[in-house]
Symmetry: C2
Subunit: 601 residues, 2 copies
Amino acid sequence: MNSIPFEQVTLRRGLLSEKERLSRRKTIPAVYHQFSLSGRIGAFAFQWKEGKPKQPHFFWDSDVAKWIEGAAYSMRLQPSAGLEKKIDALVENIEKHQREDGYFNIYHTVCEPGTEWKNRDHHELYCAGHLLEGAIAYFETTGKRQFLSCMEKYMAYIREVFMVKKSAAFSTPGHQEIELALMRLYRLTKDKSALELARFFIEQRGSNEKDMHIGFGWLYAQDDHPIREMREAKGHAVRALYYYCSVADLAAETKDEALLETCRAIFKDIVTHKMYITGGLGFPHGEAFSQPDYLPSDTSYCETCASIAMVYFCARMLNIEKQSCYADVIERELYNGVISGLSLSGDAFFYENPLGIHKTARAAAGQVVRYSAITERVENFSCSCCPPNLCRFLPSLGSLVYSREGNDLYVHQYADSCYEGDGMRVSLSTAYPTNGEITLATEGVSRLFIRIPAWCEDAFVLDAPYTMENGYAVIDKPTGEVHLSLQIKPVLMAARASVADCAGRVAVMRGPVVYCVEEVDNGADLDALYLSSHFRARVRKENAFGSLPVLLTTGYRRRASEALYERADRAEFDETEIRLIPYACFANRGPSDMLVWMNVK
Amino acid sequence: MNSIPFEQVTLRRGLLSEKERLSRRKTIPAVYHQFSLSGRIGAFAFQWKEGKPKQPHFFWDSDVAKWIEGAAYSMRLQPSAGLEKKIDALVENIEKHQREDGYFNIYHTVCEPGTEWKNRDHHELYCAGHLLEGAIAYFETTGKRQFLSCMEKYMAYIREVFMVKKSAAFSTPGHQEIELALMRLYRLTKDKSALELARFFIEQRGSNEKDMHIGFGWLYAQDDHPIREMREAKGHAVRALYYYCSVADLAAETKDEALLETCRAIFKDIVTHKMYITGGLGFPHGEAFSQPDYLPSDTSYCETCASIAMVYFCARMLNIEKQSCYADVIERELYNGVISGLSLSGDAFFYENPLGIHKTARAAAGQVVRYSAITERVENFSCSCCPPNLCRFLPSLGSLVYSREGNDLYVHQYADSCYEGDGMRVSLSTAYPTNGEITLATEGVSRLFIRIPAWCEDAFVLDAPYTMENGYAVIDKPTGEVHLSLQIKPVLMAARASVADCAGRVAVMRGPVVYCVEEVDNGADLDALYLSSHFRARVRKENAFGSLPVLLTTGYRRRASEALYERADRAEFDETEIRLIPYACFANRGPSDMLVWMNVK
């Protein structure tokens, strides 16, 4: 089973459509602008000299490569001579400065010449992987082969260095990414050497004594055990998830059931023990997965890239396994943890997507307090991996909606959209998630699989008999329109009791959307707010947050006590209206405290 | 008004008596033993050479000095030829190795000769202060003047270096302590030069550009502003509180109302914004006070030394101000945050006294998680300031019970005890805090002041007419016995709503005693336990915890859910018995999770 590619899916309206358009209109140009200002674009001229400003960083190649990939996707939806010219200029430079033997890396050529493959922390293979992905995307969009040829040459060289001569100081990447890029290359060209190199990096990992201790240690880089022995998600979340993507690809291509079992176990470990309710992943120390059920809100990290990588992993598993649980997680990410990484204006970014902002807990001048995320999105970071990741992720959102296997059609996400191709026609009409009414008109579909989301307790398929299979309602030979009605109402959610930080607290969800309270709506001291345990909320559409409505509910505010500690039965509460906004939209109205996990009484 | 010195107060039974005896029987010998093993005692022979083990640390002088002070107090209660011999041997070495000009510091003589007064972080003046306190204590106990004379000579030298020649690289201590020691010297000898030097260090601080940035910065060392401008407790908690002690002393001796106002404001800031319910103070980064109302349990620091220093500060303010609020805080510290620093066996120590232990949140091999305190007390630390601080604090507990001003007697703490002296006789009989019945028999008292604790809502003074004054019941010319009846019952306490970490949670107190739950009694996953909002508890005396009873209550345990997140109204609870033990006694039965702030429903 394969996803229907985004360029064949028209997103007509709703959140995914809004974000896809915003990324093309605002995000991609804005990131290019920032990358020009910061020197990332100019670095491809290989002109930097000691003492000059804007020294290239060893991960800059990958930032620009991801932007190229995103721009290529954007061009696939809407051709752009401007973008093409920008990419061609970059490719020109890449070809010009690629070494005779195939090596390409700005930092190790202009800043530290002669030091290639010496430092496993220096992201060379990670950069190579992103460049390869960019080259594939650009080739697939334009048919121009120049960039792809450069990267094929680079891969041949890497294969020689790592598989044949074994001359590098390490034998697998410090930061995974090239493995999944090589699998993409293999799928494009069927070149077995790409598959072999990917397999080499995947299988070598965790078993080679040459691979020195990097960063925070072996576990941090998923290098503590060979992949076949792994059953838990550990270490740096983005490294881990890019790795798992490639493992799923390899398992699918080689029908390797043992590798697939590893992927299943790791997925289960993440969703039952290591994922924030927003889909966020990871903890500040090492940007890493932590202990099971250890999900503190105030020191949540939830890197935008990690959520994107989780979607990539789930999309692979979804096509392999055909189980709705993977699409459920994709939905959680899409409506919360990924989208929160982008400002409503489309040009400012979070690297981290915390589950709470508590300005008081942040450092005042000279005061030392614990780590806190920033309170407002910014246009660029010195380590700016997340913005270009959104550049490539958002234009390709359409590919998450449907999968196809022969004439069987799977509907994973409820985005108002249409698709036509290969004897099949689909039109999905909905205002989801404003409401849960979905109408599907199909032609040429043999079996129609419609995901019934796990969060929904009352789902009805109308106008057609159906059976349930792996979380999907299956309709045989659908004719005319099929209606799906999902009851969407605001509910209070609780985390498992062992998630200490959330114990006794609740979060509000409405369908797939997690809500939060902001100071700007509810005044300071959000911890003084208590939702009612008889929670009911009114849904109000406001233009400020696109297609996502706000919620209004009557709760309580605890009065401030003069004493730091008082008898609990002396605490006084006043009824108050509480305004909740979609978590994905927080921090768009100036610095403000924010809270997802709220008190309840 | 002055405290009645501990050597004139007999603690007959109850918690304070138990800890005073334990310290003499176990703690003081155990710390000496550990200090011998670690090389701290041997270091006084000045024999260490480069390459040899057990290199003296620059704070070792202070560790041993505090032990001498404690041993001297112990000898005052029970003469000991053994302790005297040990101290004399140390004093012999001190005299022998003191430099001609008066300088005495092991580290800067044997490890880094010629570097004295160059590094403000090197605790030279801090060590000097503790040595002076030890010398005063030993002189007051034995009348032997040798040690005190050495230290007077050292102080004269310090005065020359800092006040006259100003030849040091800094002008005030990196770590305060000498200021309060000098005030003690002044009170003992009435030597004005000690007062002047103390005043110099106190008033110079925060205003001298020569004082380089130290440790975490100026604020960290209370060096950001002159003391007269300060109104909040900031920076390293122990440095701050030793400093405030000396400021209170100076204010009292010089009748300086402005300095006293500073002390009042800082005290109020601490108790209304910066003190854990156990009396604990400070946060791991920098062992420091943090932002107002920022009191996270899991990263609480609550150094034993900080609680001890807080008692010292409050005892000074109490005698100046005669307000019960200071004695209330001393009580909170005594029954919770100080005593928790010592194992029930008397020979193992906490440096930090966290408000929760969550073993899952601690680092597994190679895993990176946030800072956590240790889970069991140990016999010695590399930075072992807390054990000898308990050595001097515990034998002198008796001095916290009464103050006297002429023939007026103040009863601050309800310890079963007696005192006789200077025409006055008192006998206080009680099983407090097991119950709140207190009988006072006095002779020769003109006015009897009995503290009514702020935590008590039902206090009755029987058998005598009384008025209330500054939190004390005042009985004019008491005759026969006076009975005080304090209703002590277990209650649920709440923190102010803005203490985010405690919002929605409750802590159990019974009288002055804070309770906690431990895994060893209640099973794992303490966050699954919910106290009933209709909380009632049975009190049970168990020998395991000395004079402090345990509490039994019926509450709920939330069932473990398979899903990480579920609808809050689907959560299932089972009734369960919950056993609470005194916080001060936690971590005495092997590694165990522990929790003070619990869920409630």
